[in-house]
Symmetry: C2
Subunit: 422 residues, 2 copies
């Protein structure tokens, strides 16, 4: 029997110090979103393989941890399997995100849910990615979604709730970058790109912050797009500003290419979020923001933080996904917070969780007779009933070292109990 001590490849054991931060963030998430009227919900970690492989998950569908069939179904699958049809062996998989399971959940339970449904979902997801520093194959996601709300009240509430949360746990000077898929499409149409090419144009546009205007131009031309379209498109970006003036400039320039209301909605989201904000951040229009997933249909947004150098969360409107389950479209808008990145940032800056009382250690000399031990237990339990944190430990030979170790765990008060002094 060879027992393996390490966790499976790409997954990690979580030590108490990190767990304390995680529990703190989870608690703040629950409390904050509750004040905005969100309700908790959960879906199973295992999802039908058919749903996971339904082309809603983009690249993630290549990274599914698949679950073997059991019993007779496995036996008959083994009979049929060859290198090209290994999927006959499986009937489920671990979810790679929370959005697809949420859509299934809503389709399954809509009659028992409020409308609109403001959902808060926290849970692990799994992706069999190549293991790399700081990225794990199991990680926690935290999503808030508003299902059934067609107006931009959804976007405003999602962004305000999330920025309020970030402010509470000590983040500041971050930026909410905002765009709209319809704005992107209008820019592409105005520039003369064909509709079939939009997605690949957008993928290149998304690299603007990494390779700059010239880099994007070069890449688009090398992909065979006409210099004229590329120039026309990039000229838009060159002239646009990241405030409401930028939105207005595009509205004026794009004219009929832009559906009615898109620019006005972006402007209202920006002014409303900015005027009611309780944290120190800015909201900026970013016409280069694309967001990877193809399912977005309207406004899209992302949180960028200089200290992280990347996105720590994002989301947008996806009005067409739930219809894939129900046959009837339901407006939907969601925000996914990069829980693991937030925890990592807090750990890196040695974030101190607001204290809730001292951690107290009772050190009890070895072989304390049971009648005397009883008194110690009684004293401890009375204090615990008042919410005090008391750890009763048997005194070690090297008491000094023992105390030093406990100090590292946050214990600040020590009481000692000796057999002959009780």
């Amino acid at each position: 029997m060879a027992m393996k001590k390490k966790p499976v490849t790409g997954m990690k054991d979580i030590l108490p110090r990190e767990m304390e931060i995680r529990d703190y963030v989870i608690h703040e998430i629950k409390e904050t979103y509750k004040t905005f009227g969100f309700s908790g919900m959960e879906t199973p970690c295992v999802e039908h393989i058919e749903n996971l492989s339904s082309n809603q998950g983009g690249e993630n569908e290549k990274l599914i941890f698949k679950i073997l069939k059991r019993g007779d179904k496995l036996t008959s699958a083994v009979d049929k399997v060859n290198a090209d049809n290994a999927d006959v062996l499986v009937d489920g998989g671990l979810r790679y995100d929370l959005t697809l399971p949420l859509s299934r959940y809503y389709a399954n339970n809509a009659n028992d849910l409020p409308s609109p449904f403001k959902a808060l979902q926290m849970g692990n997801v799994w992706r069999a990615d190549r293991p790399q520093r700081g990225r794990y194959r199991q990680f926690m996601q935290c999503d808030i979604d508003i299902l059934g709300e067609p107006t931009i009240l959804a976007e405003i509430e999602l962004i305000t709730a999330t920025t309020t949360l970030l402010g509470k746990i000590g983040f500041e000077k971050f930026t909410i970058r905002l765009n709209n898929r319809k704005m992107l499409k209008a820019m592409a149409a105005y520039s003369g790109f064909e509709e079939k090419d939009y997605d690949s144009v957008f993928i290149t546009l998304d690299k603007m912050d990494k390779i700059g205007l010239d880099g994007v131009a070069e890449e688009l031309v090398s992909q065979g797009f006409s210099k004229e379209s590329v120039d026309k498109c990039l000229d838009l970006f060159d002239k646009v500003s990241e405030d409401v003036a930028g939105v207005r400039y595009l509205k004026d320039t794009l004219g009929e290419f832009l559906p009615a209301g898109v620019a006005e909605d972006l402007e209202t989201i920006m002014t409303s979020v900015d005027a009611t904000k309780s944290a120190d951040f800015k909201i900026a229009f970013d016409p280069t923001l694309v967001r990877g997933m193809g399912y977005y249909t309207g406004p899209i947004f992302e949180i960028s933080m200089d200290e992280f150098g990347g996105s720590v969360g994002g989301g947008g409107r996806y009005d067409e996904m739930i219809g894939k389950f129900t046959g009837q479209n339901t407006p939907a808008c969601g925000f996914s917070i990069g829980f693991e990145r937030i925890v990592m940032l807090l750990l890196e800056k040695d974030y101190q969780i607001p204290k809730q009382g001292e951690k107290i250690a009772y050190l009890v000399e070895k072989n304390m007779p049971s009648d005397k031990m009883l008194k110690i237990l009684q004293q401890a339990n009375e204090k615990r009933a008042n919410g005090e944190q008391i750890n009763i430990a048997i005194m070690k030979k090297n008491k000094k070292f023992q105390k030093e170790q406990m100090e590292k765990e946050g214990y600040t008060v020590f009481e000692e109990f000796f057999v002959d002094r009780m």
Copy 2:
């Protein structure tokens, strides 16, 4: 693309009302165990298949959800597979309990953990059991364990912390049943059973509460055990009482068959827990208590509740499991709470979570101009910053129905905002 609306077989979607109860219980668990000095920790949900299949998991090892290998390893496994060796296809599985992963975790991280380590672990586990009412294939477990503490301080603290928790969430008049594996073995030896038969004798003894003394006697005899041994053993049960007098009776009767200290320790656990208790329960000696898992080595215990008609948690000492990973035995004692059963009981009795302020709904007339909407948002966000729960919803045509629905979700205060009255 056939999307499936239902969750996978045997797993369930959790609706907001249940989620509220779950979150409440989770919060009380974390807060209560914190006052006893427990630290949170987590292991991955996926575990090495070798560890899961190492004979530590008893019957659960037949119920593993197994995870398919990926990439080249899968291709070469498919080449070799036949009906008898399907396990070549897998390299991991979903954990079926939290004890085995805890042991691996401790072996992997002992240098970074306090000693003793008081661990609180909450997480999902999976068992491919036959689906049945009220039992699911994914369920949450909640375990507390003390690793590295050889004395019964561990047992006393685990039982006191857990009964304190149960009291806080409204349970009363339950019973902690207590026994010791060594007491069971001494009774078997005293009665003349052979050591190789102990486990099967214990399995039958465990049925005492279901089939009674006579039923147990009949079953043991039918299994081929000598009438003399069976009578001698059952005579013990007939005479023993469930208080400390019962422990003393067995100590006197079993004499040298019982290792030193076993009876005294049981007595001290009982008197200490009873004298320091903060909830309304009793602790009883139960010499028929066996606990299924073979890995227990000392005291064992279980919570029984009349209203449930079964165990809602249990645990015991397992001093030899961690050594399977490290080669060095580490004293260990744990208590697993039946989280799902507790949640089910609370839901069934329509438990009311202590209220934290009113739930307030702002109903906003449709097409509210953005400048007026801004004022509503501002007012809401100021109140939310003070912890008030405010749900902003667009007013529906059938406002009466809308309010009734929101009342069902717990909203008690409604404020209405009309375009022409702002």
